[in-house]
Symmetry: D2
Subunit: 343 residues, 4 copies
């Protein structure tokens, strides 16, 4: 299968290339980039020198499948063209994530470039939407924060054991901010430093909200606050919600019950694991795993869930490839069974 | 004034020495340490070589004031002896923080060594207890997490604008874990990594709880979850609580109202500042400042407060010296007006 | 092929397990550990949970090949036993690296436990000793610093273009110091900090010296100084030596000539690459590559070579597996073709 | 004394402001910036909020002394104007460091803007040029690398114990690269990474070379190679040179002799200390100290010196203030006696 990567020159695009280099059933035949067109991929990313590919200005339409790692709006435009040529794809941007187009416009400050494609696209979180992903033309690859947050809360919401009052306090490494220059992600400004950001609203909030509402029987009153952490990769989301009174009253061992519920929910998943000891982001470095630790603050009657991913793998490129595998009928973990690198 | 430091060989004790070296009204005349006794302080901490002091096994009783940076239980014992010689002091351990001795025993796994001294000790958070600190014999220097958390929530609780349903998600640099060896704070294990810890309860919870309850008219249902961050110094506490319905209904501009309330609360403070842009821990590095940014998640009706300190200064040694200044009638900022080091 | 790993509970042993998990021609059938015996490997290293192996106290002698990641002396003892059962192996400790037993004793403060095995062992740097490695019983896996340093200097020494006055200034991430507790590798002590160490002599010096002398026609007067850098993985060795006067006199474009010489020397190597832009350690993270940039300080007439590896892969576990592949007649890159993870 | 800071919006300028805020004999009355003109200094650098100063577009000529932290060429222009108004100053740029104007032009790609001021300027390294600094109009504040390197080599060169074959392998934190945006100092590119740079020549080389030649009786054949290290502040320079044969032959204990020579050379210095254990950059964080550890590689007959500074203090702002103190007849350590912050 011939695969193309649109905008390989960002971190997500480069990570798709890195992982696909070991996927035995696909061959990368075209990589595009704007500034980098004409250069060898290895000139920009020496770790990809082995691929020995030239960056094209445009997508070669002979590919069978395409990943778009363009910024939003530009990404939908590019995929529109590909899809019209009969090529399936995964959109790593936000363009097809938000199902309500008004919400999309409100948060992304642009009219959706191709509303007509919404119907053939699916929110690409396999753990929740696997069967629809199988048949879609475009999988809308979830954001990094939403992946960790939604997977951390899905079992509890689906089981109806929590009140719809949810707080997600998320912490991310700096690579999530991409490769564009900004003083905020300058080394000397980030190192030995933590900060909260997006205090007036972050674009991943409506995306998380959409999926939590779907999982729950009612609207979830969500607060989402992201933080920038001095490390390159990794997201840890700490999720809090009050357990329902009747669940507390009728459950003898809350911690065990919650853990059992979570383990059952993800029992068939290859990448999402419920673990018995509190996880660290480093246990996911370079792997497509999401590791989840649910527990209960007994005194306060609150569910606490800690969820960890590598933001560039399960939070971007790895999940994109997982979606491709599903869309193309390949084993879901093809090319994705690398263990985390530790320490 | 002659000052002694008991257990100068930990990070908090060494930081007391560093800051006091520039305090014009005191002279450090005795520093003690267990393992280091007999060595020059500069052999253990080269940055303190200029002080040119020998580490004693025991406190020289001729000091006028003492800081104890011993572990809990041992600290109370040492202070008992000093106080019986008429020396005032600041306890940097947890021994005199928890006013309820059963709670102390429950969380610290030991009977309190000198309950008779509880009455002459005060919880040493100047912003809340300044007048009592003036006259106490022992100031119980608050924990690092409690300092950031309580200062972040005090104005809202005192004003009664939030429901007593509080979540504190706190992030700390590694120096808070001290100098004792542990695989958990080994460089290769912490670097490029975040984790939550204390998921079954952290000792700073009852301390925060005690002060929040005091500030509020009712019991505050608190969840406190700390996280270990790959940096040396700094604590950022993100605090969440629902605003009361009537406050929301009767307030036209919630964000501004909350900010004004916070600014008013701390208007006379030298070290605790309410700021207009989201703060970073690095803006406090090496300084005794606590910087606080209160805002509102309008959609969710929740107060969000971000509070930052240097855990070894306002969260330990600096606040200890602030307490000494108050107890001894010196200007509260003597020796403490160093600006943060940035970047 | 059944493989055992002795002392899987250190970083090098765990890394052998991680890499072998994707090696298609071998199966790990036994992992041993001292403190961890009886536990599941995933309890100690969660990133290895998938392997689902129990740690044994002793090696199961039914393996076909063994890696020993024990400390020196203990490692030789363990391998002696294995070899006597007809098992080949790679020793990741220093025991079989130093060919002169007096030098070994001098630097490692112990008599060599099994001098009789020296003859059947080979210094396991494939780029220099591939043909002997093929037929040995024990490959002495090179140290991390020696790997980067020797590969950085070999082409120049073999070609005889430099004077035998060599300085290697090497910088290493902290994982090279292992998992044992020590204040020196405590997070708060290493972060935001650089230091030189081993100023009175480092054990990797005689190892580097041995190989440089072999490559050169005369004794190389070597100074080797290692530095500890605030990062987890990676070694960068900066190597300096005066170019011979006649080489300078007879060469029109020194930089190009040196680069061509280096490229030719490594032209058939799968893992050691001579690159055209100065390399970074991060370009090797998680991969078995050694990337080398040779150039000339024209004004000073000196060769400068920068050489980078991942200390736990090409500097330990990866090279150990490369040696196994050679010893067992498998393709040299089996299980080792993972690209570096960037950023 | 009224002091102005030209271009306060870079790291060096901001650091001058931070340190001067505690200097009891001066008052900062004017700070200028290009992009930041009209803003409050605290808007750009929150840690300087206490100063409560507005950034001016131009220098107020009523100041008594000025620091210029502009880039080269622009800095000389600005100082020319100030000097013509009778104001003395310190130039933190490179404009007056290189005494030979052809060398300056060759390395800085610009004709010197005011060669007529060279005579009234002095290379501002107090340890070597104190008496001339006293009477100069402009002190050319040394570069960060040159400060560490020259101080590390001066005693040996002046005493004539080494051959003029010197290698300086220097490692710097990222703040030395300033606040301008560049992918090379983007967090994700620098973190967990080391690289060498300036392999075709670095501008600090001729500056170091000039001073080494002055100290020595002959031309010193210098190789200087800088490295970028994942930390914010700090420079460690490792210096290597062969000891002269006759010095080796006539000296019974080389290590002790060299150390004694160094201690004697710096015996009257307040900031440059020869220490007995290998230093770390962190022992200088935020302080104006340079700490130096000289030793000998006995086997190789080479001097090795490790020299550490905080690149923004002794390597920039602190040394600039030290120069001001000397030029203005104040105690040399006024405002500069802060201890390093550790850990």
């Amino acid at each position: 299968m011939k695969v193309g990567i649109i905008n390989v020159t960002g971190y997500a695009g480069a990570e798709v290339a890195r992982i696909l280099s070991r996927h035995e059933e696909v061959e990368i035949t075209c990589v595009t980039g704007r500034s980098g067109a004409g250069k060898n991929l290895g000139d920009i990313f020496p770790h990809l020198s082995n691929l020995d590919m030239e960056i094209s200005p445009d997508l070669d339409k002979s590919v069978d499948f395409v990943f778009s790692a363009l910024p939003h709006a530009a990404s939908a435009e590019a995929l529109k063209e590909a899809v019209s040529s009969g090529i399936k794809g995964v959109d790593i941007s936000a363009d097809f994530r938000i199902r309500d187009l008004n919400t999309y416009s409100e948060w992304y400050d642009v009219e959706h470039p191709c509303p007509e494609l919404m119907e053939s696209s699916v929110y690409g979180l396999p753990e929740l939407h696997r069967s629809e992903i199988k048949d879609c033309q475009i999988a809308a690859n979830p954001g990094c924060y939403p992946t960790a947050s939604i997977l951390g809360l899905a079992p509890a919401l689906e089981a109806g054991i929590i009140e719809p009052e949810v707080i997600v306090d998320a912490k991310s490494g700096v690579s999530g901010a991409g490769r564009s220059l900004s003083l905020k992600i300058h080394y000397s400004e980030v190192n030995e430093n933590i900060s909260a950001y997006g205090l007036d609203g972050h674009r991943h909030m409506p995306e998380i909200s959409q999926e939590l509402d779907l999982l729950s029987a009612q609207h979830v009153n969500l607060t989402f606050l992201p933080h920038l952490i001095p490390m390159t990769r990794g997201i840890l989301a700490s999720c809090y919600a009050p357990l329902k009174d009747n669940y507390i009253a009728n459950t003898s061992d809350l911690k065990s019950a919650v853990k059992a519920l979570y383990k059952d929910f993800y029992k068939d998943e290859k990448f999402t694991h419920v673990v018995d000891t509190p996880p660290m982001t480093k246990h996911t470095l370079g792997s497509n795993d999401c590791i989840i630790y649910p527990t209960v603050d007994i005194r306060a009657g609150r569910l606490m869930v800690v969820s960890c991913i590598d933001n560039l793998v399960k939070g971007a490129a790895g999940q994109a490839i997982q979606n491709m595998n599903i869309m193309c009928g390949m084993p879901e973990d093809s090319g994705l069974n690398q263990l985390a690198i530790y320490p």
